[in-house]
Symmetry: C2
Subunit: 412 residues, 2 copies
């Protein structure tokens, strides 16, 4: 049976040859990296750029680099590069701060776009920072937070009608990998004159998000997962063109001012997406992200989505054959599957550790999730088969019951 | 006369030999860099660290680096290193976000420490981002902002009495280089039971700030000026130990949670200064800053302050001799002088450009300021004399009237 899977892997890798960008990444030998949804692998282009930024731009050209190397334009330039990946035309995305900070801007800024509306809708099972920030932004801006699962969001939006300010959801569930209905929830919010804010942390760079096509109002996301920008790479904020004139956000730092160097005492927001800027951005990290994004050059996200679905689908096929009794938490239906396959196992933590010991790197999420992320740029179907084989060997051999794999590290 | 100045420069450089760290920095040949208050020079230690972070930690060790290289502890570890430089015992400073974002946390968080008080005092001539953020934080948190020059702050605090929530001032005026009375304003605020929040952007790393000794409550500052962390290096937030238990700030990201990986739906702030954390920090920039701070190892800030005063004092002496009619905006009195000398000139922009053409890098600030920052770690008295000589030559030769020096670039 494995020989059939091997030939299928080979055939699928040939079929998706045009979206294989493995040669643009540096990965340790012998590793199958299924954690690109936590920290993307190192793109080869990054090293030379970072060295140049440190030694020549900072070290030699010093303060002049703000002009000569257009450091000043980095936030919108990198924003546009991200925009191209999430389907937003130039001028709608700014690279800035962290996802948490950007979500605060988006939610606390939403009333400027729909004055008088007060209800913010979000997922009770959202990534915790999204919940924490939504609660705090609502408290800060005198809004009412309502927790409604994404599957019920459209109906609740319809009931809320003109009370709805903004529905803010993650496009993909960070635990189960379930893909929520971005177009449907967006349409529902618009039908009552409300807004949406999508968290794209687990979809930017792997799904054909198509923000413009779906008329998404606001979005946020991070730079260090599938966008491969490096640890803690700056995040992004998207504000659709039609909203930018009215959008006001509370983090009114000088970088978002219309004339930052006039040093005027009154805050006048910059025209366009630049009003999402706050303070001076961390340029080593931001320019590393810019270099990383070149791994996407010339790729269509629809093609990459097909590759991603083929990879996750092939894992499910492999599991059917090699580990038929494992519990899969991710929907099998393609339209409901992100670029991730999550398994449930009572000893999930130890399973992840045993896999890591075999060079298959995934991660654990409370309470019982083995989370495998699929970064289609650098993963092959052959990698997927190896991962499935290692998983079968771990479970068959009871490796997850060994004490060294069950002992918890402080941070995972 | 110049020969006297030359021998004085030589004598002073010998006198301050123990605080000369020029060999720990890379600067272009022939440059006198007087812009370390805008972007600090490149410390030699940074290059190897950044390469290691990119190639080995990120590229090879991947997600495991959060534990094996203690990425998770970077924000408080770098915070403590900054704390040592600003006179705060460990556990009171976190490296995070930008100065603007940290100031928002501090001001919007102040009511948690002094419930019921509503007046925030700040400088009408503060660095604009401080004004913008103070206005926005006050609007957000229903506080009243009052603009009072720092010279009048103590008196106004006395009048306000128990209405005072927090007096937030820059320790050094970014334009004139005037050093404000941090101990006096702090005492005045405490006398009425209020708080202070000091912006240390232009004093961290060059003044003996002594936060603990003066019982400062809150402070913020940036990492890319005198701390030499590189372009847009992360900033810092200081919250004194005695306030940490009560301190609540509105940017409640998961990195500031007591148990971030439990993924619990309710926000419980971490104990200690970690509650100042928000999202995942930009580690390339943050670990570059950490490497940069090693240039301070073994130095006492009181000694460095003496060196800084000697450097700025020597510039004033040189100007007296070489350019006696130039208008000096910075107080001559040592107790009122930061690590900066600002000159006023009707063609200040062109003077700065003409100096840059001669390898003396300072910067221009609206409307008429030639701003010369003194980074004592890598500046010598011989450098100072060269700068003064070049300034004399520029003004004598009318170089600042040349069209190429008067044409404004978009960003300076």
């Amino acid at each position: 049976m494995t020989s059939t899977l091997t030939s299928t892997a080979h055939r699928l890798d040939e079929l998706h040859r045009s979206t294989d960008r493995r040669d643009r990444f540096r990965l340790p030998a012998g590793v199958v990296y299924l954690d690109g949804n936590s920290l993307g692998a190192l793109p080869s282009a990054v090293t030379a750029v970072v060295t140049d930024v440190v030694e020549r731009q900072w070290g030699q050209d010093l303060i002049a680099s703000w002009n000569t190397h257009d450091w000043w334009g980095a936030q919108t330039r990198v924003g546009d590069a991200i925009g191209a990946i999430v389907g937003a035309a130039p001028g709608q995305v700014v690279c800035s701060d962290s996802t948490s900070v950007n979500l605060f801007k988006a939610i606390a800024g939403a009333p400027s776009l729909r004055p008088g509306r007060t209800v913010v809708l979000t997922d009770p099972d959202s990534f915790p920072t999204d919940l924490y920030i939504a609660e705090s932004a609502c408290r800060t801006a005198n809004l009412t937070l309502e927790l409604v699962p994404p599957a019920e969001a459209a109906q609740r939006i319809d009931e809320l009608g003109t009370d709805l300010l903004v529905a803010t959801y993650s496009s993909v569930d960070y635990r189960t990998g379930e893909l929520w209905d971005l177009p449907g929830i967006t349409r529902a919010a618009h039908a009552v004159g409300g807004l949406v804010c999508w968290d794209l942390c687990h979809s930017a760079g792997v799904l054909d998000v198509a923000l413009d096509a779906h008329e998404v109002d606001l979005a946020v996301g991070c730079g260090y997962k599938y966008l491969n920008g490096g640890p803690g790479a700056p995040a992004f904020l998207h504000v659709a063109h039609r909203h930018q004139g009215d959008f006001r956000q509370p983090l009114t730092g000088w970088n978002g001012h219309a004339t930052p160097f006039a040093m005027s005492p009154d805050y006048v927001p910059a025209p366009g997406i630049s009003r999402g800027r706050v303070g001076t951005p961390p340029l080593l990290s931001m320019l590393a992200l810019e270099a990383a994004l070149t791994a996407y050059d010339g790729l269509g996200l629809a093609d990459l989505r097909r590759r991603s679905l083929s990879l996750t689908g092939f894992l499910l096929d492999c599991l059917d054959v090699l580990v038929p009794d494992v519990a899969v938490a991710t929907p099998r239906e393609e339209a409901r599957r992100g670029s991730q396959v999550s398994l449930r196992h009572p000893h999930a933590y130890a399973v992840v550790q045993a896999l890591i010991a075999r060079g298959v790197i995934g991660d654990f999420r409370e309470p019982d999730i083995v989370r495998l992320g699929f970064a289609p740029l650098y993963l092959s179907h052959a990698d997927v088969l190896r991962a499935a084989e290692h998983l079968a060997a771990v479970l068959r051999g009871g490796e997850h019951t060994r004490p060294e794999h069950r002992a918890r590290a402080t941070v995972t």
